[in-house]
Symmetry: C2
Subunit: 227 residues, 2 copies
Amino acid sequence: MTDPVGQSSRERYRAQVRAEIKQHAWEQIAAAGVPALSLNAIAKQVGMSGPALYRYFASRDDLITALIRDAYRSLADTVRAAFDSGTDLLGLAGVIREWARDDPQRYFLIYGTPVPGYHAPDDITAISFEVMAVLLEACGAPPADTRTTPFDAHLRDHRTWAFDHPAPAPTLHRALSFWTRLHGVLSLELAGHFTGMEFDPELLIAEELDTLPHGDRGLDPADRVSG
Amino acid sequence: MTDPVGQSSRERYRAQVRAEIKQHAWEQIAAAGVPALSLNAIAKQVGMSGPALYRYFASRDDLITALIRDAYRSLADTVRAAFDSGTDLLGLAGVIREWARDDPQRYFLIYGTPVPGYHAPDDITAISFEVMAVLLEACGAPPADTRTTPFDAHLRDHRTWAFDHPAPAPTLHRALSFWTRLHGVLSLELAGHFTGMEFDPELLIAEELDTLPHGDRGLDPADRVSG
DNA sequence: TGTACATCAGTGAACGCGCGTTCACTGATGTAC
DNA sequence: TGTACATCAGTGAACGCGCGTTCACTGATGTAC
C-alpha cells in the first residue's frame, strides 16, 4: 500500500492532518499572536478532540517549533527561487517584503521578540543560513578596485561563520547591510511604527539598497575611503 | 499631610508600591517574556495577595500599558539627555544600543512583535514622537547644495506627520535612515540572529551611520546624484 | 488635643475558565499468512 | 481470497494547575470638627 513517493496511505493521511493542524495554528497566530495559540482550540477547528493532537505533535512547543521551521523553509525557498530566476537585490527585497506582509505574524515568529532561553534546533538555524547564502550569492564579487572600509577589515578577521560560502569581506559587508537595512524598515513597518507617517516604505527600501556599500551605483570607490 | 510636591503620604506610598510592582513585572518579563507575566506571581514577590494589585492597576493589560509607557519614556529621556549634552548621531546610536542591551525585553516590548489588534493610547504615541523629534534635531539641516534623491522628492509630498517639527525632506530622510538602519542591526543582534557570526555589531552600526544620506562624510554631494 | 468619621490598602474565599497533558479504551485500517 | 493479528487514529474522562478577576470584609491611616 505504498505509492511512488514511498508513502503508505497512512503516512499520507498523517501528513495531511499535520498540515491541516498547522494551517489552523497559523490562522490563530495571525489573529491573536503566538501567546494565544491553543491546542484545544485548534483541535476544535480541525474537528477532533484535544488529546488527538498528540498523535501529531508531541507538545505545544513541538508544534510551534514546526511552525518556525516551516516559516524559515518558506522564506528560504522563496528567496532561492527568486534569485535562481534572475532577480536582483532590489527584487529580492521586494520578494522578502511581500513574503513578510503576506503574514506579518509569520515574519515576527522568526524575526520578532525572542523567547528568553529558547534555542532553535540545529536544522532550523541551518535553514536560516540558506537565506544568508542566497544573499551572499546575490551580492556577488565586489569591484576589484574597491577600497576596504574599517568594517571590511574587521570582517576579514571575523568571517569563519561564512566558510561554507566563502566570500570576500566586501561581499559579506554588502550582504549584512542589505539584510539589516531591509529588516530595519520591514520590522518597523510591520509593527506599525510608521503609522501616521504617510511615506511609502518601498521607496525608502529602494534607496537604502541603492546606496549599499561596494555597489556599482553611488560613488566612485576612490571617494569611499574616508575614515 | 502634604509635602512640598503636593503629594499626600498616601499618594507617595501608592507611587512607591506601583513602582515596586512594575519593577517585579520587568524582572518577570526579562526572565521569560511578556506572555509569562502573571499578576499573582508579582503579588507574591511584592509580598501581598493577588487581588491587592487591583488597588494599583485596573487589569493585567493596564499594567502592561504602563510598562510600555515607561519604556518609551525611558528611551525618550535617555535620547533627549544625550543629545542635549552634545552627543552626535553616532553617539546617540551608542546610547540607544546601550539602552536596548540593558534590557532587551524592554526594547522588544516596544519594537518587537506587535499584538494583533492592540493600539497604544495616544499619550504613548506622543512619547514615541519625542524620540523622532530628537533625531530630527540631531540630523540637522542638510548642506545647501545637496541634490535630492527620489525618496527626498517623495518625502516632500508626504511629511505632514512631521509638521510639529518642520524639517526639510533631506533631514527627514536622514533621520529615517538612521532610525531604520539602527533598528535593523539592533533587533537582529538582540534577537540572536547574529549568533555564530563573530563580527562586532557596533562596527557595522558605525559604518552604516557613516554612510547616511546627505551626510558630510562619505562622498561629495555631486557624486550622489545617480539614478 | 481628642473624638467621630471617611478613606482606602489589603485579605481570603470563591468563581469560572481554559490550559496542556495522561490514560485506558474503542474501533477502524493495514499487514501477513 | 479469507482470516488473525498488529498498528494506530481518535475518544472521553480526568488531573492538576494557575490564571485574571469579583466580592464582602477587616483594620489601619488620614481628615474634620
